[in-house]
Symmetry: C2
Subunit: 236 residues, 2 copies
DNA sequence: AAACCCGATTGACCCAGATCAATTTTGACG
DNA sequence: CGTCAAAATTGATCTGGGTCAATCGGGTTT
């Protein structure tokens, strides 16, 4: 992929960062924030670009500022499992040592705040509250990962799709506020690889939900017509 | 379940604890260890007993000392997904706040080192290296969780079983040293719920592996006859 | 050692979701 | 606006693994 990556030439200010309240940096006081500012640099990625790859040695951490990313693992024969979608505020690559254990692509244009591992590690060292914040995030992710295992191992296609729609909507709501329109910037293939299904099954399930009046498929997303019905499907 | 739980009346010594080298406490120096000693108490659980349940408010953390545990989540209708098996040295319940997000049962007799949340939290506060150790463990678990998502979402039954056997053997080897005999203390149902399969499929797959000379099914476990063949199946 | 229980195995059959194969829709570009 | 390419939908068919139903041990109780 031709790199359309761009690194901003000049500084920026954490204090008016869009994700200031949710991200790792939420645990920093104004004085720390000023110092922190020098560690990160904003980097842009074009749609489809890979931000980092599984098995790359970890040299940077990333704080997603704008856009959506898919996080995935590949089997040698090409089968793909998407282990999560990242949204603004998510902190990626927290492997203090060693290698990344998944790859991350931009879905649409993306802006990240990139930190070099070593200075970031030094900054953390005498700031246990930041480490604690990172630990909290890791534990939250672990909990999400376990929920996703239940979905992958024990849920039917209908339940998977319904659970995905509600979960994705939930995340967008807490980020942008409530709405019945659920944008789906990822492709059907991405959704399929996230849910452990094929693209055809995802498509058919969407159509089925629409026929039953539960959702309406619109360009670039869906409208939740009957949230209760979708919830009933997801709960099962 | 009738509680056969037993709490040891008197103290014990961390310094000669079986899991001293692997567990969270590996990050403590001898002086700290003596203080730490007063925080934990050994507790025994009989086979099948529940150590803690999903949605219980977290009041304790557990360090598994002896035995095996199954960690699982249930859907409202009873479907179960085992999210992992715990072995000695594993640290359970690391939700600094809130609730456990899975349940944990003893598989066979189990001994844990139980820590009350509050004093443990206080102990951590001024020992960032312990927090760092816990963070490392969380990140390792996260990585395992993602690997398991790939298995659940994208692997065939044969691959699942082969991967499980090798992974389980690997953990036992690093704990007890190499051997071609792989004890399987968990039931077929447990294995099925771990792999997102049914008990029948697990049983059939074992039989198939045995017919092909890859393994030999023995009482309480299996013998690895042809590790290379099993590895080939798992890699696929 | 007979009776019983419970986990594991095996067989017969079925079905949810995969696979294969066309369309149809959408979007990018000249 | 027309042309192409990629994404999404839809249909027809197939199959891996689930479901249902015996049967088979191995251990424990009496």
């Amino acid at each position: 992929m031709a790199s359309v990556t761009m690194i901003e030439p000049n500084g920026h200010f954490c204090s008016d960062c869009a994700v200031r309240g949710v991200a790792v940096c939420a645990s920093l006081d104004p004085a720390e924030l000023r110092e922190f500012e020098h560690l990160g640099r904003r980097v842009h990625f074009a749609s489809g670009e890979t931000v980092f790859s599984e098995e790359d040695i970890t040299t940077s951490f990333f704080n997603l500022l704008e856009g959506v990313m898919r996080l995935y693992k590949l089997l040698p024969d090409g089968r793909r499992q998407i282990v999560g979608f990242a949204l603004p505020g998510d902190f990626l690559g927290m492997n203090m040592s060693g290698r990344h254990n998944f790859s991350a692509d931009a879905i649409g244009a993306v802006t990240v705040c990139q930190f070099a591992k070593v200075p970031f590690g030094r900054f953390i060292e005498d700031r246990p509250h930041l480490l604690q914040r990172i630990n909290e995030l890791a534990i939250r992710e672990l909990s999400q990962a376990r929920d996703h295992m239940v979905l992958l191992g024990r849920r039917s296609a209908d339940e998977k799709v319904a659970t995905f729609l509600l979960g994705w909507r939930g995340r967008l709501v807490s980020l942008r506020g409530s709405s019945n329109t659920v944008p789906l910037p990822m492709s059907r293939q991405d959704i399929a690889d996230y849910l452990g299904l094929t693209i055809e099954t995802v498509s058919r399930t969407f159509t089925k939900l629409e026929r039953h009046g539960a959702i309406e498929i619109v360009h670039g997303g869906i409208n939740l017509r009957d949230a209760a019905r979708v919830e009933a499907l997801a709960a099962a």
